[in-house]
């Protein structure tokens, strides 16, 4: 239960980090908060030749609101997002999701960029990024590009990031006026990974939904945005029949796998239950806010 031998570098700038990464390629691994990577090192599930510690790259931390977007530096800790007034004003679901991540000591160290790059299909940030159609910024020595979160996750623990790229920021759209969100997570104890989780937002005008988005985590190879649910819910008033139809669509579309925590069938059923709850919560919160 001790990490394997590796070389260690601690760059102070993104430029130095990118250079190291381009020199060492797939033999290098980036260390952000370390709350997933260090257990993997301790368990010898990861044996990098070089560990590039990103924690001193100050330019990667911070929360900024600009042009209707909330830009979050990759190294921003979960705890900072849980307590940030700026983030809560721009998109209240961020603090709501942050609260569910691990425990205080984990949230004090873990980072949003690390979690998204790690791409655990049950984790909160990947789910939120997909649900809210966030964009992920990737830098290499050659270029900067942004990828929609809905295209970034390609499988369990697998992403569209190249071996020479560093995830530098995540950009969330700010929550629109007259909208409400629902965030529901099923786990056995607070702080556990979700067995299944659902996150969604509905936008209303004159009592009718004019736009909806919903995604489910833990019930497929990646967090899944289910466009069919968006279509079912749009135009409705959030009636019970509509919510039930949306839940049925989730159960139909998802392809969960079973493991020690829950069977595939249980996950499918719970996904439908959580979609129901998340949509009801979202509709109720618009009513409460207006």
């Amino acid at each position: 239960m001790k990490p394997p031998n590796f070389l260690y570098a601690r760059p102070d700038t993104l430029e130095d980090a990118l250079r190291l990464l381009s020199e060492h390629g797939t033999g290098a691994k980036l260390l952000a908060g370390g709350q997933s990577l260090v257990p993997m090192l301790n368990l010898r599930m990861a044996e990098p030749k070089l560990l590039i510690d990103m924690n001193r790259v100050a330019e990667l931390s911070g929360i900024e609101r600009e042009n209707g977007k909330l830009r979050i530096g990759a190294l921003t800790r979960h705890r900072a997002l849980e307590t940030s007034r700026e983030a809560a004003q721009a998109e209240p679901m961020i603090a709501r999701a942050a609260r569910e991540i691990g425990h205080l000591a984990i949230r004090n160290r873990g980072t949003i960029g690390g979690s998204i790059a790690h791409a655990d299909p049950s984790a909160e940030w990947p789910l939120l990024a997909v649900a809210l159609d966030a964009r992920v910024e990737l830098r290499s020595t050659a270029r900067t590009r942004t990828v929609a979160a809905r295209e970034f996750f390609t499988g369990p623990f697998t992403t569209a990031a190249g071996a020479d790229e560093i995830l530098t920021a995540v950009e969330f759209p700010c929550a629109p006026q007259q909208s409400g969100f629902g965030f529901q997570e099923l786990c056995r104890r607070p702080g556990d990974f979700a067995i299944v989780a659902a996150a969604g937002r509905v936008r209303m005008r004159d009592g009718r939904c004019i736009g909806a988005t919903l995604a489910i985590g833990g019930a497929d190879a990646t967090p899944r945005h289910i466009a069919e649910i968006d279509r079912i819910v749009a135009g409705s008033r959030g009636e019970d029949a509509v919510v039930r139809e949306a839940a049925a669509a989730a159960a139909r579309v998802l392809d969960p796998s079973g493991d020690i925590h829950a069977s595939a069938e249980y996950r499918r059923k719970m996904a439908a239950v959580l979609v129901t709850r998340a949509l009801r919560e979202a509709f109720a919160s618009v009513a409460a806010n207006s």
Binding site: P11, D12, N42, L50, R79, A105, G191
Partner: protein
């Protein structure tokens, strides 16, 4: 930036004392605290961030010492359970643990104390549900949770009364 290596010289403060050593970069902060500094109150249970026994405070925030490398503590202020008592006077939380029989075998105690110290420092409320949720990251295999919750609630309540 120095060139990548297997060893690095670090300097940091632990319980108010400055320490300067060369460390293997693969060594966790928990192993460094226990093996190199001989501060063995910090315990290692699971060594992958689940049990909370190795919780210490780094720059004012509780962290898992098994999930941080010693080399990452370079320049930081680290506090372990050995740093809680001042001039042989136990901290209020340590006293409360004693008064409420909040320890049985004692293996998990340091981790619980450091988690509770972080909670108390951030002005957490003494609501039992919140305390239980905050303690969910620390495991006590004697299952002495009721007394742990009572001890911590008593300190947080007293703290809140003082603030008013």
């Amino acid at each position: 930036m120095s060139t990548p290596g297997f060893h690095q010289r670090i300097r940091f403060s632990i319980n108010g004392r400055i320490v300067e050593r060369e460390v293997p970069v693969r060594q966790t902060l928990a192993d460094f605290i226990r093996d190199a500094l001989g501060l063995t109150a910090t315990r290692l249970g699971c060594e992958h961030g689940v049990c909370g026994a190795c919780t210490v405070i780094v720059d004012g925030a509780s962290v898992r010492a098994c999930l941080m490398l010693a080399v990452q503590a370079d320049g930081a202020e680290v506090r372990t359970v050995e740093g809680l008592a001042q001039d042989d006077e136990l901290s209020p939380l340590q006293k409360a643990f004693l008064d409420h029989h909040a320890l049985q075998c004692g293996f998990c105690t340091s981790g619980f104390l450091m988690t509770a110290t972080d909670l108390a420092a951030h002005g957490a409320g003494s609501n039992e549900t919140e305390i239980r949720e905050a303690l969910s990251g620390n495991l006590c295999r004697c299952t002495g949770y009721a007394n742990l919750v009572d001890a911590i609630a008593a300190v947080l309540k007293e703290q809140a009364a003082k603030r008013e």
